[in-house]
Amino acid sequence: MAEITTLAEAVAGLVGDGDLVALEGFTHLIPFAAAHEILRQGRRRLTLARMTPDVIYDQMIGMGAAERLIFSWGGNPGVGSLHRLRDAVERGWPVPLALEEHSHAGMANRYVAGASGLPMAVLRGYRGTDLGRVTPTVATVTCPFTGEELTAVPALNPDLTVVHAQQADRQGNVQLWGITGVQREAVLAATRSLVTVEEVVDRLEPRSGSVVLPGWVVTVVAVVPGGAHPSYASGYSTRDNAFYRDWDAISRQRERFTSWMREHVLG
């Protein structure tokens, strides 16, 4: 049964310097509040995993919390570049950032393997590309039935996966709905998990298209209404598209970024 506690206590108990942490959520339900708490607690040298780094990792990378990024698409969706990610890769500011990059299909299947307790997943991918040349975690296996050469990627098993969900009940059972992305797999692949939720309810009402995570596979639940902003929680909020657009200007220069983070996140 998951423990229900505050975000500060949850992060203090679950995140250590140097951990491999995945904060997942495919555009929807991105756990921004948990990322901000990790920054406030000053965690360093993290390996951050996430299919789409998005603004959430732009903030963490810009604050120097990460030394490595495992990802598949690092842009500001519909807007453009992630300037802090670019600055870290192109100029090593504020600290150098090592990259391990995959395709979306590869990342998704790495979480699937992790959730399945397998050391690897098999897919038909990366064909003819340079990704296999620069990413050591891409290999091949031969199908024993057809002789076809297939792509293999290793399981991704984070020390901690953080996701945001709409609801938990008092036993720590969690329900999320709408676009649920790769969150089920990311939680099940992790050694520990933290779920921030919009609210705790007496009973999880069955919902169309929902994913239910039993409390016994969740380590800690923390109640953080609005914890996905500027992403959103279907049924509770809408995506703050203006913020995503504004982020382009906020993040473009180091100084403005840093003062914005001091004022809005660290403060």
């Binding site: 698409w73 969706p77 192109e90 990059e101 991918g125 279907s234 995503y244």
Partner: protein, 235 residues
């Protein structure tokens, strides 16, 4: 705005939309590809099925989404599935008729670069990376690449090969014309120019010795209905 009362980007979007047939299952990335697919749905392809990488199948967005995770895409979908399922059961399994891709660089075989400009280890410009492109390029039955024509984009040699098209039909729609993979070595051939564009304009914006079809079509300019629908979506 071009002379005819429409911009080159509008021409490009309309030309891309025209390539979708009614009933096509289309995996559309955000931006111009999603716009073109949604435009086709409003015009000649109302039964075109939109699939997004976020897991929405059969989305019918009333306004063009800013991100592929917009609630509108899930709320109007026939089904919402997980991200692993989209890539394994739907894309890899060959259920996508048309994959749309954009790129920073393209080569003569429609291989694309969305990873880096400059050397991988010390890039001049770090681009977003692969996303779904490698598997969209190889698993979709047809691939449509949409990008603006320039010497910076149409290069002799890619800085990085992020995706390589499979064996199906491949078309590149630009603001100047249309290139299609030819038979045999599948090198791109200029098969159409947009109205008002000369073949030499396209050659001048292409970083390799461009193959040109014996008879180059001229893309009809956007019809009023096409422009109206497009502008209603982007207003």
């Amino acid at each position: 705005m071009a002379e005819g009362g429409y911009s080159a980007d509008e021409m490009m979007t309309v030309a891309a939309a025209r390539r979708l047939a009614d009933g096509d299952v289309c995996l559309a990335g955000i931006g111009l590809p999603s716009l073109a697919a949604n435009l086709a749905r409003r015009l000649h392809a109302p039964e075109c099925v939109l699939v997004y990488e976020s897991g929405t199948i059969g989305s019918k967005p009333r306004v063009p989404p800013l991100s592929i995770g917009d609630g509108e895409l899930a709320d109007t979908a026939d089904a919402v599935v997980s991200v692993p399922e989209i890539f394994n059961y739907w894309l890899q399994a060959g259920r996508i008729d048309v994959g749309f891709l954009g790129a920073a660089q393209i080569d003569r075989h429609a291989a694309l670069n969305t990873t880096v400009i400059g050397p991988y280890e010390s890039p001049t410009v770090r681009l977003p990376g692969a996303g779904g492109a490698p598997e969209i390029a190889s698993s979709a039955r047809r691939v449509i690449v949409v990008l603006r024509h320039s010497l910076r984009a149409f290069v002799e040699r890619l800085d990085f090969r992020t995706s390589v098209p499979g064996d199906g039909p491949t078309a590149v729609i630009t603001d100047l014309g249309v290139l299609e993979a030819g038979p045999g070595d599948r090198e791109l051939i200029l098969t159409a120019v947009h109205q008002g564009v000369a073949v030499d304009d396209v050659r001048a914006a292409t970083g390799w010795d461009l193959r040109v079809a014996p008879a180059v079509d001229v893309t009809p300019p956007p019809a009023t209905a096409e422009l109206d629908a497009l502008r209603a979506m982007t207003a």
